[in-house]
Amino acid sequence: MANHHPITWSDPVARSPISMPGTYVVVDGWEQCDLTSNAAMTLADESHRTKVVLRATPNHSVREWLPPLRSSRYSGEILQVGSGPAEWYLIGAEPPELMVEGLPIEGGEGFASWVDVTHGRALMRVTGVDTDSMLSKLCAVNLAEGTTPNSAAFRTSIAGVTTDVIRDDQDGLRSYLLHCERSSGQYLFEALLDAGTEFGCELGRRVATSSPVADSN
């Protein structure tokens, strides 16, 4: 109906809920900040990762394929997280359809379904030996090794925002993935950065080195 108008628009660009100082480049349709840092503590935006939430009734067979409540594990490149009694998050780089491809969601007894929440969750990663102390400024859950070891997953209030936390150490260095609903993402990110100032927190992705801490700039 708009034939008499030469209508054009630029290619869609996906934008993270988190903005930070730095140069942005478009990678696979996502605007991404090019900041890197290997400081003692680093905070990075990982919101561009695909996120799928999956739910299944108690009698559904897909449950056998997924980690139990409050834990996480990698299945190939996909991080699977048991985030609630009948709820799992899948976090990865593939499109959502491919992330759930191998799982027996259809058929069988009970009911299971998934929703792509890639655009609905802000995802960030904080890494460094003091990250437990830093998070303890914002979070009342005990982050001691005994209660939340590597691969533990839990949901709690971080700086007043209900946040899913996954302890996901990187090369033996303490690291947490945190995701919250998108609209609070910028707030949470800034709260983490502010709490991390005391520990020398810098913005940016870590660059793999043999000894990440020693090579801090």
Binding site: M1, A2, H5, I7, W9, S10, D11, P12, V13, A14, R15, S16, P17, S19, W30, S47, V53, R55, T57, G110, F111, A112, S113, V115, D116, V117, T118, H119, G120, R121, S136, K137, L138, C139, A140, N142, A144, S157, A159, G160, V161, E181, R182, S183, S184, Q186, Y187, L188, A191, D194, A195, E198
Partner: protein
């Protein structure tokens, strides 16, 4: 007055000052020097300053009493920070220290006339003054604020640095690092658990720090042991301010490296209470004269700061602390004029002096010239933390102090002076036993009692033959307690409230026991039955900064919010959301929607993805209307009521697939509706298969409204928008501006042809900007929440929470046709069934027009008939840019809701205006021609 003389003495073995590091500071503008490690008060004393403050009510000159944090006479202002505990706070280079409560100066204080008008500020003044008459309160306040105690608050924006917050989970937290507390921490750490050791002073050690060579040697050994454990976190200049349910313990860390003050919220396995003992003042005439102090004060000044507190001393002693003070003073070169041994029953009569101690009058009338009077007459057990854990301490007449009862829960233990007496070794031994037991309990062991410390006999001494000051911080005298009893305030809590004893800066730590003893005497009871007041949190004062601390105040924004800010949007704060209220001219924005096309960011609209074979059952349960026959590709409006029939939320729900629905809620109701859905599923119908996923911010939502909306959206989407293919209340999915997986539905909150689009949120800004760039020739412009409110009001659409309130039932909101009482079950059914039978009796939502078309009555204006009978109120009111006249919605009582009824509006200035009830809620397009176009 003569020039102050330095009273600094030779190096002491336990001194904490660093004589190689001089510090310059000023006292009321006068430059002075001291050493690093000095407290403000030790620095002043070293410089010969004796009068530190003026008292709260009578503005009497006051000097050091306890030389510790609780010293009531040593509050000063440092720069613009008021009420600094001068006997505790360490001096820093350049500190500008000033006296408080003194005007125009410490030496000449006009308000000292209060001493002459004692009647005006007599006991019970506050208590009685503020009972009635209430209209006099403002006048009292004016008078009192000129005489108010304490310093002035810092100027706005002054700030005191970074106030922080932190959570921690120690297995054992020890409150107080004297010998017993340190030993408890060490032994708990040896068991391998996580320990936090909290000390109010700048260094650990308690009384060992000023206890002589043997004590210092013991302390050195304990320090070395503490340092050998990495699992003990030592916090000095920090205080445990409260113990709450389940060992939730608040700690204020005062001089952290990173923050000015940090509030630590600790969830503790076993709390060990080890605060030691506080020396109790003695009540007699002249006991507040500068120069009269406690034995521990003298020893702190001598041993920690090498300051000689006087030159010629009289000592009243009833214990070893007093005896030791005699020896220490003597070796520091103080002349000992007289030692009165109170254990023999002898006492003193009064202290004599004007502004400064000059002599001590003995019981026999002899006057001994002296500039220092030391009292050592007993101890107070600071049982606050035990009180907070449920304990009700018991008076022991033999030891003459309170001891913990058996009411302490197993997760709380106590050690040190608070539970008994002993040598340093005995205290350490008890601390170790308690520490080991605390660690065991924290790791789940069955509690085993720890053998108690012994109790030493001590004479019960509270006052001499004369009356004197009881509460130095509140200027309460012992005779004020007698007055309280005479007036009938004869219980511990009543006497405290009447006299305000214990309500000042020392919070009862120095004065409470004396007050209770005097109360017991005045009422002819003993102390055991008089009891004591219950100590509540906080144990020590907390600055407002520490309480405010790191604020957890989440903010929510849509993906388009940065664009709104760039384009001059005026922010509207709606709960946690920040949204554009308008971009400068809401009226023009609304008109552009009526004439061309506008776009509004409605991302905060609640959106919930529902999947499963039983979704329809859930919809039928939460909505009042029927959902059985909603077809794929259609949306329906629904209203939710709470179980009391009150309108809770509304919105449209779309059916996207066989088992797949997308529900929308109001922006403010999103969280409540989500929880309500879970509540029904989890608690009443766990057998239903419905998966609920909130997707509010997974989608950026934009409403495109106006006659050109079809043309605008049509330029960007592969969805067929023709009226035949995509009618009113239908939903379609497709791509918009190159973004796949968008949901579009046709609804009309504004009353115009409009499409609400929901796009994957990361592409929200792309779609928003593209809509504006391709629609320039169609007159597209953004509109904000205010324009939307105007538009919906013109159309007569209600807003839940604006046109309804917490009592509005569905029928009262005009939503009766949407309530399907024939359904088997839905939220609020029995209440609404009954409400329906009252048809016509309840109030109704109506549209009204003012007689004066230019008068826009404020929202919430009352509607009356006659002079005063309230019959309703205005819920929404605006000037309509389309009709160029005032329009409003109102709730009115049933009989007045019929069209044509005349109503009187009461305006805020008291004047009245007339209005008439309209036929229809819609002011424009009641037939819906625009909407269905």
């Amino acid at each position: 007055m003569s020039k102050p003389v330095s009273s600094r003495i030779n190096s002491q073995s336990g001194e904490v000052i660093d004589r190689t590091k001089p510090i310059n500071f000023t006292w009321n503008g006068q430059p002075l020097t001291a050493y690093e490690g000095d407290t403000i008060v030790s620095a002043l004393m070293a410089s010969g300053v004796q009068v530190i403050s003026r008292s709260f009510k009578y503005h009497r000159p006051r000097g050091v009493l306890s030389a510790s944090y609780v010293d009531p006479n040593c509050s000063v202002t440092v720069s613009d920070e008021p009420n600094v505990r001068g006997a505790h706070r360490r001096l820093r280079e350049g500190d500008d220290v000033r006296a408080q409560n003194a005007w125009p100066s410490l030496k000449l204080d006009v308000r000292a006339v209060n001493q002459l008008v004692g009647r005006f500020l007599g006991p019970g003044f506050y208590y009685k003054t503020f009972i009635k008459p209430q209209f006099l309160w403002p006048s009292y306040q004016k008078v009192l604020s000129r005489f108010a105690p304490g310093g002035s608050p810092p100027a706005p924006g002054g700030g005191h640095g970074n106030f922080d917050k932190r959570y921690t989970h120690p297995d054992v937290l020890v409150a107080g690092a004297g010998p017993a507390g340190i030993a408890a921490a060490i032994e708990a750490a040896r068991a391998g658990v996580k320990v936090m050791l909290v000390e109010e002073e700048y260094e650990i050690g308690g009384h060992l720090r000023y206890g002589g060579p043997e004590a210092l040697a013991a302390l050195a050994a304990l320090r070395a042991e503490v340092n050998s454990y990495h699992n003990i976190e030592v916090l000095t200049d920090s205080v445990v301010t409260g113990r709450y349910d389940d060992n939730w313990v608040a700690v204020v860390q005062r001089s952290g490296v990173w923050s000015h003050e940090r509030l630590i919220k600790a969830r503790v396995g076993t709390l060990v209470v080890a605060p030691g003992l506080i020396e109790r003042p003695y009540v007699f005439a002249g006991n507040d004269l500068p120069g009269v102090m406690l034995s521990t004060a003298a020893m702190r000044l001598l041993e920690l700061h090498a300051v000689r507190p006087g030159t010629r001393a009289v000592i009243l002693t009833a214990n070893t602390s007093g005896d030791e003070a005699v020896e220490r003073l003597r070796s520091a070169g103080v002349e000992i004029a007289l030692v009165i041994d109170a254990r023999t029953g002898v006492t003193l009569r009064r202290a004599i002096g004007r502004g400064r101690l000059k002599a001590v009058e003995c019981a026999d009338g002899t006057k001994i010239p002296a500039d220092l009077l030391i009292t050592a007459t007993g101890w107070t057990a600071p049982t606050s933390l035990l009180n907070m854990a449920g304990d009700r301490p018991i008076w022991d007449p033999v030891a003459a102090r309170f001891f913990p009862s058996e009411l302490i829960p197993p997760s709380v233990m106590a050690t040190g002076g608070i539970v008994g007496d002993g040598t340093i070794d005995q205290l350490i031994k008890h601390g170790r036993a308690v520490g080991a037991e605390a660690a065991a309990r924290a790791t789940g062991a069955t509690p085993t009692p720890v053998p108690p410390l012994t109790r030493e006999a001590h004479p019960a001494l509270f006052h001499g033959p004369t009356t004197g000051f009881l509460d130095f911080s509140e200027d309460v005298k012992s005779k004020d307690i007698m007055a309280a009893v005479k007036e009938g305030y004869d219980s511990a809590e009543l006497a405290k409230r009447f006299t305000t004893s214990g309500m000042g800066t020392s919070q009862g730590k120095l004065e409470n026991v004396n007050a209770m003893a005097i109360l017991a005497e005045a009422t002819g009871r003993d102390l055991e039955s008089t009891g004591t007041t219950i100590w509540r949190p906080p144990y020590a004062p907390i600055s407002l900064g520490a309480l405010a601390g790191r604020a957890f105040d989440p903010v929510r924004i849509s993906p388009m919010q940065p664009w709104h800010v760039e384009h001059g949007a005026v922010p509207l704060i709606a709960g946690q959301w920040i949204r554009p209220e308008h971009y400068g001219d809401p009226s023009a924005e609304a008109q552009n929607v009526r004439t061309h096309v506008g776009i509004i960011d409605v991302t905060p609209l609640g959106k919930i993805d529902l999947q499963g074979p039983d979704v329809v059952k859930l919809l039928n349960l939460v909505y009042t209307n029927n959902w059985d026959n909603l077809q794929i590709g259609s949306v329906r409006y629904g209203v939710m009521c709470a179980e009391d029939g009150v309108v809770m939320d509304d919105g449209v729900t779309a059916r996207l697939g066989t088992n797949h629905y997308l529900m929308t809620t109001t922006s403010s109701g999103a969280a409540t509706v989500w929880e309500t859905l879970e509540m029904w599923l989890q608690t009443s119908h766990p057998d239903w298969s419905v998966n609920v996923t909130p997707v509010t911010t997974a989608m950026a939502s934009i409403n495109i409204a106006g006659p050109n909306s079809r043309e605008l959206l049509g330029r960007l989407t592969d969805i067929d928008l023709s009226p035949e293919a995509f009618g009113y209340m239908k939903v379609r999915t497709g791509s918009i501006a190159g973004v796949p997986d968008c949901v579009v539905w046709r609804i009309g909150f504004t009353g115009e042809l409009s499409y609400e689009i929901h796009v994957p949120a990361s592409f929200g800004l792309h779609v928003w900007e593209t809509l504006l760039s391709v629609g320039a020739d169609l007159g597209v412009s953004p509109f904000g929440v205010e324009a939307q409110r105007i538009l919906r009001l013109e159309k007569g659409h209600l807003i839940v929470g604006q046109d309804t309130d917490g009592l509005t039932k569905a029928y009262e909101a005009g939503l009766g046709p949407l309530v399907k009482l024939g359904k088997d079950d839905f939220s609020g059914l029995p209440e609404l069934r009954w409400q329906e039978s009252l048809a016509g009796a309840h109030s109704q939502l109506v549209a009204i027009e003012t007689t004066d078309p230019q008068l826009v009555p404020p929202e919430a204006s009352q509607l009356v008939v006659g002079m005063a009978e309230i019959v309703g109120r205005i819920t929404s009111s605006r000037m309509s840019p389309t009709l160029k006249r005032s329009i409003a919605l109102a709730r009115v009582s049933g009989e007045l809701s019929v069209p044509g009824s005349r109503l009187t509006i009461v305006l805020p200035n008291g004047s009245r205006a007339e209005a008439v009830v309209r036929e229809n809620l819609s002011f424009i397009d009641p037939e819906g021609v625009r909407l269905h176009g």
